[in-house]
Symmetry: C2
């Protein structure tokens, strides 16, 4: 019976097909009440001048997730990523013809973060900016390089789904925040209207979703000043917050 050990170090690497591995990052944020994603304009062929997800080759000794963080920082000039940022693996895209240069398998990541400063061009001088997801969807939407439109669709769906059964909606907000601000995140990401009172009850009924600060916002507009909250320790939402609209099933999501 084997003890299941790696055995002696190999003498030489065996042959394998020439396939490149990249990471692509879909950074989602809510700016001015709109769900937005970060895109960079490509400076080189192929798809020169096209908008694309930030991404690039994985280094030989680099973990995939580290590569995602690195590319995000390099290509967008966003050096200080917010501590509350969330990043998870989305899916791997490997159609043989997705890159005209060669066979490229891309591991896509989704990130969610509060509104960020307007990104400076990255180290390789590409322009980076946020685009509203609305401007990409539909047949007349902005065209993206490679299969990035598909990745965006999958990633946005993943985010919509994650909001149902995790507390990640709060990752889109700077602390402190109000329950109305949190509700507007849900409404924008899902594209629906939610009953304020029922939303409030639901959020507060989940222990650790949000923590009350016991303070009120200084009234900026007419109406009663809202109470302020920060993110709690809970990560899972149980029972889930379901998106309305008939009683259709949630879209299938690819994921952890």
């Amino acid at each position: 019976m084997s003890t299941c050990a790696p055995g002696p170090p190999p003498a030489a690497s065996q042959r394998h097909p020439a396939v490149a591995v990249t990471v692509d990052v879909l950074l989602l944020t809510v700016r001015n009440g709109r769900l937005c994603i970060l895109l960079v304009q490509r400076a080189n062929p192929p798809f020169e001048g096209c908008w694309a997800l930030p991404g690039g080759f994985v280094e030989v000794d680099e973990d995939l997730e580290d590569a995602a963080y690195r590319e995000l920082a390099e290509e967008t000039g966003l050096q200080d990523l917010p501590a509350s940022m969330y990043l998870e693996q989305l899916k791997t895209y490997g159609a043989p013809d997705r890159d005209p240069r060669m066979r490229v398998v891309s591991v896509a990541y989704v990130a969610m973060a509060p509104d960020l400063p307007v990104p400076r061009p990255g180290s390789d001088a590409r322009i980076a900016r946020f685009w509203a997801v609305n401007d990409l969807e539909g047949p007349d939407g902005l065209r993206l390089a490679f299969d990035h439109r598909l990745i965006v669709a999958d990633g946005v769906e993943r985010a919509r789904s994650k909001l149902e059964y995790t507390t990640l909606g709060a990752a889109f907000l700077e602390e402190p925040f109000t329950l109305t601000e949190l509700r507007r995140i849900y409404e924008e990401v899902w594209g629906v209207r939610l009953d304020p009172s029922n939303f409030r009850r639901k959020v507060l009924s989940i222990p650790g979703f949000v923590t009350p600060l016991g303070e009120q916002a200084t009234a900026s507009t007419s109406g009663r000043p809202p109470e302020l909250y920060r993110r709690g320790e809970a990560r899972i939402l149980w029972p889930p917050l379901k998106r309305p609209s008939g009683d259709e099933p949630p879209s299938p999501g690819e994921e952890d």
Copy 2:
């Protein structure tokens, strides 16, 4: 404004780090009432003699999913995979040290299928057999090559989660089947007991989950002969079939 076209064909491929891409397949089935996975015994270093998931290098012009099907067939001698088999991408594993030979990024797939014939050794003479998932879990479980133990854990959790909100439980059964057989799949995969009457009501209340044949099984054991069903067209289960046990949250799943 760019029209977002790939542009002229590239002159030469640019340099990229030497990273190999493989697929690994976690085939789940229920044999003799036990949730089992298919493993192959490695014939070559590293981890010679260890049990591992079937898998191998992706060919240069091969789609990832095609590679998963090919490896499954090649390494297990299972040439005629059942039509009802389900296969989906699980997650990509790319820790820099997961393979001692070189940098290997592996795209893992999960498959679910009815009980299959005992696999013949694959084309490269490796032994293939099914192992009960129970025999792998826990600190005294079978040790697997590479990080395959982690992949198995993630994949089993994915399957448990999929049973909650999809009709995939029926993918484990040969048609026709009875509702009790379907219930036993759920009970085994989740490791719980379910109330037969409530399970029945739930399954039948989902349009298209199962289709009654209008026949009864020829009584093989004592008791009333059950009615027979085949899989329906529905893929999504709404509302979901929740696993019991307190009201704990479902484990987070990585997936579509």
